[in-house]
């Protein structure tokens, strides 16, 4: 059937084709879009969101959801600033502290969900609130910057070390001098790691099985609770890495930054469902989803679209991708071969 094959093709490659068309269009319409610098800029703009989105993907795979990632990232941001500026610790210690904090939050989320049977959305919503509040307590609600005035009247002695700022600001040479920022490299490394883990190891396969039918997965011998906890810990760790990179880029512990991180990264993971007709969470799709949003925003910005239209554009892509995933795939399976279940 011709129409079936067309639908099949559209579901598989439609989103990637759309991405290619967009790139071609912007290359022609916006001068300067098709350049290495612009590409590096786009990658940089999506790197942190993308890292968080990869963590969300892991929780989506086990049919969970982590609402706390945004606040884990901002907590990591504040914690790293606090550790270096006020406690005067080294960059390395600050990074270890933040990652440990992310893992711990993930562990607590996981335990709340599997041991205390709190539904995932509610547990992580609670954790989100808790962290948003907690990160403000040590500084009495103020942002942290080098030399800030402390409550006891003295000034903070510590600074963001150069090694830490390197994480957010250094650019590697690639064809051009100082082209690829460190966060982009970290984003790509994490994307490859999670892609391999979910797609090509038995642990990833079992996590998909748990997300699809938890009871069946436990009856083939999978330790369902452990895998769920691991998924939330991965999510916590990636979120804290995102927070560290944000802190390193900003160079201060800004209480108000990172507001959009949660929504943007969840959107990227959900847009990822539509890539290659996967109709399920997957690392490759998530990375493409994040890029898609970045490319569209960059292109529109270069064509002088005002900044306040950005969220509207993101929302429109998300809705389109979801329709694409759920409506078209549903039609495909309904019109496809034998649905004859007796």
């Amino acid at each position: 059937m011709k129409s079936d094959r067309f639908l099949d093709f559209a579901i598989r490659y439609g989103f990637l084709l759309l991405l290619v068309v967009l790139i071609l269009y912007f290359s022609v319409a916006a001068s300067g879009f098709a350049s290495p610098r612009s590409a590096a800029f786009i990658l940089q703009s999506v790197a942190i969101t993308g890292i968080l989105a990869l963590g969300v993907t892991c929780t989506l795979v086990v049919d969970g959801f982590d609402l706390s990632i945004g606040s884990v990232a901002t907590s990591a941001l504040m914690l790293s600033a606090y550790a270096m500026v006020i406690l005067e610790l080294s960059a390395f210690t600050a990074v270890v502290l933040c990652i440990g904090m992310g893992a711990l939050v993930g562990l607590i989320n996981g335990l709340l969900i599997v041991k205390f049977r709190v539904p995932d959305l509610l547990a992580t919503l609670g954790m989100m609130f808790l962290l948003i509040g907690l990160q403000r307590i040590p500084t009495q609600g103020n942002s942290i910057s080098a030399g800030m005035r402390l409550p006891d009247g003295s000034n903070a002695e510590g600074t963001f070390s150069a090694a830490f700022l390197w994480l957010g600001r250094h650019r590697f040479d690639l064809f051009l001098e100082k082209l690829v920022p460190v966060p982009v490299v970290i984003f790509l490394l994490i994307a490859i790691a999670i892609w391999v883990f979910l797609g090509f190891t038995r642990h990833g396969r079992l996590m998909y099985a748990i997300g699809s039918n938890e009871r069946a997965a436990s009856l083939v011998g999978a330790n369902v609770n452990r895998y769920k906890i691991v998924a939330y810990m991965i999510s916590g760790v990636t979120a804290s890495i995102g927070g560290i990179l944000l802190a390193a880029r900003l160079g201060r512990g800004d209480i108000a930054s990172g507001n959009n991180l949660l929504l943007d990264s969840v959107a990227a993971a959900l847009i990822g469902f539509a890539v290659l007709g996967a109709a399920r969470p997957n690392a490759f799709g998530t990375a493409i989803g994040a890029l898609f949003v970045g490319i569209l925003l960059q292109g529109l910005t270069m064509m002088n679209a005002p900044y306040y239209t950005q969220d509207f554009v993101k929302g429109a892509i998300l809705v389109a991708a979801l329709v694409f995933t759920f409506y078209l795939s549903a039609r495909q399976s309904a019109g496809g071969k034998s649905q004859t279940k007796t």
Binding site: N223, S333, S338, Q339, T340, T342
Partner: protein, 506 residues
Amino acid sequence: MRKNVCKLRGIGKSFGTNDVLRGIDLDLFAGEIVVLMGANGAGKSTLVKLICGYHSLDSGDMELDGNPYLPVDPAGAISAGIVTVHQSIDDGVIPDLDIATNLMLDHLTRPNAGLWVHDRKLRQEATTIAQSMGITTDVRTKVAHLGVADRQMIAIARAMARSPKVLILDEPTSSLSATEAERLFALLDTLRDKGVAILYISHRMSDIRRVADRIVSMRDGAISGVFNDKPLEYDNAVTAMLGHAMTDIDITPVESGSPILEIRNLQLEADSPLINLSACDGEVIAISGLLGSGKSRLAEILFGQRKPYGGSLLIDGAPYAPESAGDAVEWGVHLSPKDRGTNAVIPTFNITDNISLPFLRSFTRLGLLSGNRQKHSADNMINQMGVVCQSAKDGINTLSGGNQQKVMIGRWLLKPCRLLLLDEPFQGVDIGARRDIGRHIRASAKGRATIVFVAEIDEALEIADRIVVLHESQIVGEHRNTNIDLNVLIAQVSGAVNTETTSTAL
């Protein structure tokens, strides 16, 4: 002349290139129970879905009471007087609401229903309906707290509250015990006397013998036989359904080898009698009993899902006390659970990934899964089990029930084991696939002990060397599968013999 309530002529339906129904003619008369038989994939469910408005038909005519009938959606079918009780019970009830609300849902959705809900009145009406169905539980109980059988009765009660002209039941007894099924049959008798036309879909011969006034066999989307004359020719109906005659199974019990599993003084309930049983190399044991006899519990204990109240287990002489399913698999104990939809199938995976799931570790090299080796094993198992599919990459949900079950059992045959447990392996499986599975289990039985948990005696007789009967957590009978006195066996299963363990022909 009886009244022809529902008349179908030349019904056709295809999905894509697949013609699922090809020119079905069917008449349903008032006051008659028509049993529709068909192997998995014959098109029974599709036919039902057409009649009750889930699918639209591609060709043919339907008439209801002499008027053209063309439901646009399920609600249209219901208001026209055709009510269906579906196979999966949870489609029929809303677990989080109480019995009263569940029974009265249709009253709440009627166009002329008022804005306010009168709880007291609702409960009174619901109680009346419930009592007429023999449901005595307080109507304020949440449906989620009820057993499967009671939920099924509620789904049927709801259907009845609509006073239908035509009642369609899709495998209604698949999760009922014998006594509960008898309650349902008694109800069907009453409805038949009231002049309702009933279409009853089932695989179970015992059900069919009990209720059928007429049998219609379907095969490959067409009617392959109609049996009107009393006495009904059941064997011919099965032949028409399968397209070939069913050979009788002739089991020669094997001389079993050394014991593999030993169950010593096991207690299933706090104060229940002790169970002693051993399962030997090469032997297939069927443990038979009604719902609630303790056979599921025994299976759970053997697979590490539950702790016994007392006693011990030995495998190859070593004490065996599994903590979890993973633990049991490590010991070489494999269980294919009952209710494959809930407990076994990973709906988003294809056949290969479903088969290889328990043994992913053995397909892993340097931490990465090898797709080729998985596919190779899966292809192998598909051939051995005779799974009908286009390729090992087909989604599991494109398979019919019988083929899905073959995949689920094949999953556990992928690696050799010491003890294979099959809990209701023939649930929702047509007789052809059932024979395939049984044959394969017996053929591969060497090198392990096999225990099959089945409620139906027919199924036990088809597969086992030895049949053990459980009743109320106690072994009440043990038979070698040659010349069994069926009357004794049936009496033991139903609990009519409640003496000390009676052994025959051992």
